[in-house]
Amino acid sequence: MNSLKDNPILKREIIMDHYENPRNNQLIDDENYRKIHLYSSSCLDDIQLQVLISQGVIADVRFEGIACAVATAAASIMSELIKGRSISQAEEIIENYFSMIAQKDYDEQLLKEAVVFEGIGRQVNRVNCATLSWKGLKQLLDEDEKR
């Protein structure tokens, strides 16, 4: 993974790929999905996120919306990374992602492609874009726990 972190060209390609061909980028009309509508404080990014949790596993993650390249790619990468994980695995990944953003220690292995945003903490005004969908996911999982 080291090669990815230190390879800006590869990182850019991954982000562009996810922006131009976002994964899991279609909502579904199914009551079993937990839903959240995310707005960034910019009044502009506007992402809807859906998660299907079944027997402690995140069976599906979907999103749709209008957002910048960073926010779109972040959501797409997140959806791929989280799909199929147990809730506790997902929570660990989320925690590591936010550590990375905060420029603290984190487990690269866990974050896979998401490490492309490793430097975003230095571009402070883009942090919101790179975390919007992740915050939404966390909120959905937290709500799930309360039930």
Binding site: Y39, S42, C43, V124, N125, R126, N128
Partner: protein
Amino acid sequence: MFEIDKIRRDFPMLERTNEGKPLIYLDNGATTLKPDCVIAAVNNYYQNITSNIHRGDYHLAYLADQAYQQAREVVADFINCQSKEVVFTYGTTHGLNQIAYGYGIKNLKKDDEILITVAEHASNILPWYRLAQLTGAKVRFIPLDEKGKITVENVKLALNERVKIVSLTHGSNVLGYISDIKAIAAAVHEAGAILVVDGAQSVPHIKTDVKELDCDFLVFSGHKMGGPTAVGVMYGKYQLLEKMEPLLLGGGMNYRFDIAGQMLFKDAPDRFEAGTPGIEAVLGLKAAIQYLQNIGMDKIALYEKQLKDYAVSEMKKLDNIIIYNPEPDIGIISFNITDQGRVLFGQDVAAYLSKHGLCLRSGNHCAKNLWHHLGTDSTIRCSLYFYNTKKEIDKLIEVLKTATLESCIDVIF
């Protein structure tokens, strides 16, 4: 040790004069002088990070936004709440109007009751009068005790199942009493109502912990605590803020709206901050709070108590004075001067004091209903802050001794 000399050097106004005499500023209930660090914080916005907030499209805007949000955390730490419970307003008056309108309109109906007292400032009365007009609810007055205090007993006696809102001042701006908000909150909650606290005269002077007080709302103004004007705070328990209607609508407080008239508002606190806020005022307030915290609210309260005790005991020695609150809790003393038994009109005396550099306010101090209680139309008010000194009190006493109808008239020539 309270390093008063060092503190006074932080306030440029303390080097000024009033009518050619060294300034002795004793009108801190109206507004307060500003320390250098507050002035510097405002200037820093003007000179280094000017830009609008709520957007981070470029770095400068991010810096301003970040500073603004940090101010929220500083306030939250200061009054012990979550930062999302801190709404920036334009002042106490705005905050009270926001609560009366935003909470009251949704939760009050005909014949419900709002409890206040005659000791409230106009800003904690008129919004409730209007709410009553709009909803058919009634405003009732909790009687003060014989000293003019709000007591838990009288609050309890006034409560009944129709009461939905109780709104009280924490520190009276005329009589300087501190109410037992914690006990009152318990009684109000037991009766199923909410408690709104006007902290305009308390937050600047004593440590305020909203968790401890358990009030539902607390409002105060930056300019009465060394901060800029046009900024105040409305604290609200988050579950109440969540259900409250905004008073001002516009940019920055909505997620979206459409041509069909649908509006989706943001969550609190953003929902209550329509339009461009007082950005440099918020940053100045942050600096003011940090300044107070550096000195320590406990030390400030203690120093002010000693100063107040001194002032009261010296004033009591005068034989031409009527003190309306000989036992205030905070540094607010309301009095009148007599001349051969006749009460001098406060404004004449205040003008006389001004000639000697002393800045005190006369009048009814916007608490116009309180005169039912005091039996006088107006008083002169000496209101202290932590940069005042015994020497300043001595000067006040010295000048008050010489105040007569003659001497008050002579100053106009």
